[in-house]
């Protein structure tokens, strides 16, 4: 099976610190990483390939430097990397992003299972995976915590819902978005890293995927950001130290009304 995994390069939020004086993000020296949820999608794609044979292709839409994310995926064992990059994509919201990725998938053509992380850690929308499924008119299983069964024609996946697990059977091709619980991503091998460094990354521009200008980037994005601001700082409150019995009584007194209101 040709398994395709869609990944995104994001700023490492573990690196992001808040300037306590200005209450703004300190951005200097923040490194780019593969979106943490996509790491599980990459790992799962490799496991599926080990089971079924075939190959794994990673695709990403992003600036030229997103090539690094593809090389990292290839170091883990992904066979091929495609960078979909064009200035025409600048300003894409989730509509335009899922459109662009779906065109790249159409160009790939023989995809079976398409894997995505459940959401990206910078935007947190969880909209691009189902968006790709909609553009390609494919079935989807979102929030997958386990793949129970897979063959060339169908997949059975466990979806993590708020109140339990739903087991869903879908024909292939389909889109799966995965959660952290599904696996533990492997570390790249030294051999893999060396091979990835030399690997040829395929570059596709807007013309290569036959993107209609009206659906790309800024023009293709129905939503528009009008304002960005830092939320008011949450001021540290009261700190209680001392005898456990005493401080617990003080805090319970403060919380009493809120607890009664919330519990009712």
């Amino acid at each position: 099976m040709h398994i395709v995994v869609c990944i995104k390069q994001v700023p490492d939020t573990a690196d992001v610190k808040i300037d306590p004086k200005t209450n703004t993000l300190i951005r200097e020296g923040v490194v780019s990483i593969i979106n943490p949820f996509d790491m599980y999608a990459i790992e799962e794609s490799l496991r599926l390939k080990e089971k079924l044979g075939g190959k794994v292709t990673a695709i990403t839409m992003g600036p030229p430097q997103a090539e690094n994310a593809l090389r990292e995926a290839m170091a883990m064992g992904v066979d091929a990397g495609i960078l979909v990059s064009d200035r025409a994509f600048a300003g894409s919201d989730t509509w335009a992003t899922s459109y662009t990725l779906s065109l790249a998938l159409k160009k790939i053509g023989d995809y079976g299972v398409i894997l995505c992380g459940k959401q990206a850690s910078d935007g947190d929308t969880a909209q691009v995976g189902p968006g790709i499924a909609a553009h390609l008119d494919l079935p989807q299983i979102t929030y997958v915590r386990k793949i129970e069964e897979i063959s060339a024609t169908h997949v059975i996946g466990e979806r993590l819902l708020e109140e339990g697990t739903e087991v869903i059977r879908s024909p292939v091709p389909c889109v799966l978005t995965v959660v952290k619980e599904i696996n533990e991503p492997r570390l790249p091998s030294l051999k893999g890293k060396l091979a990835a460094r030399k690997a040829q990354i395929v570059h596709w521009k807007a013309a290569d995927i036959q993107g209609e200008k009206a659906n790309l980037g800024l023009d293709g994005s129905p939503t528009k950001v009008v304002k960005i601001f830092t939320p008011p700082a949450r001021l540290g409150g009261q700190i209680f130290k001392g005898e456990p019995e005493e401080i617990v009584l003080q805090v319970v007194e403060k919380l009493k009304d809120a607890v009664i209101a919330a519990a009712s």
């Binding site: 200035r87 979102t142 708020e162 409150g237 700190i239 456990p244």
Partner: protein
Amino acid sequence: MENEPIVVIKDKCVGCRLCIKSCPFGAITMQDKLAVIELAKCTLCGACVEICKFEAIEIRQPATVAVDLSAYRDVWIFAEQKDGHIQSITYELLGEGRKLADQLGMQLCAVLLGHQMTDRTAELIQRGADRVYLVDAPELAYFQDEPYAAVLIDLVRRHKPAIMLCGATTIGRSLVSRVAVTVKAGLTADCTGLAIDPETKNLLQTRPAFGGNIMATIITPRHRPQMATVRHKVMKEAVVDAKRQGETLIEKVTAEILKSRAQRVRFVPETETTTNIAEANIIVSGGRGLQAPENFAIVRELAEVLGAGVGSSRAAVDAGWIPYSHQVGQTGKTVCPKIYIACGISGQIQHLAGMSSADIIVAINKDPEAPIFRMATYGLVGDLFKLVPLLTREFKKVLKQ
């Protein structure tokens, strides 16, 4: 370079560096005393345009498509149901939707999909809906991505709502992403604030991004409906008015629309009863400070007394002490309870991203320097093995009265 989405006008830029400071994404640098915007980092948020005193930065206006926005009317909310029970998020959407509809002079409509749900529409009307669109079919008994999306798409195309709100739940996000793509609507995820722009009448959708470190206000100026998913527990539930009147329209759809390629094989409910932390008013969370899996018992005891959900830090999940469905934070769930009690959680930025919008945060940690104390409304410094059981005992007394 007329196709660049954002440009610095060289004749106007004086190199004052104001824009560099204003950019939340670090996308601007100075080169030869001129601002240079790195497109790869730029999100076109417009902060630099606003701050520039010399009108030296311009965002290109997108090519306009002629869509008759006035043909779109009414505020819709998607009424989420499980096993035939309307979910509390639906009441929150009705509460918020009512306000928006009143400001716009429009009707508030609820869309209810299910099976044998006819007697449930009154609840929606009593909580503020003027009209309920009901689609009742065996295929819609429980949520299935494809038929639910297809039915909504059909209804949106036929009735043309101006706004459509949906819970930012697992179901909601899976569903409306498909709908928005197919009808080419703007969709804003996980909103924590909604308002109407008094001039343009556009829906102003505010949401956290970057793990809650930045807030963004987003509009959908040229497409309808304006779609948004709304974070659970942020908006106030609409109250019941038993005398309220409204109409129910039973919508028929074709058999084709109800087809699903993906099929549910079975459903396995989570065994832990207090698991749905997305819905909980109070959450008691445990972290590495608990030291061993069996010590989660003291967290559970406090949770039980408070009727709270049990949450956890990533560390406790990774150690295998508690299932992943309880994890709060960047790679787990984002929660918004009234009270969040963190026991033995240091408060890494990824954890804070998942709970910083709680009304009241109580932190219990032995390390007075733990970052969680900077967020806490009330911080207790000390041994959690003493403090948590004491809290359980005292709250038991308080709640008995």
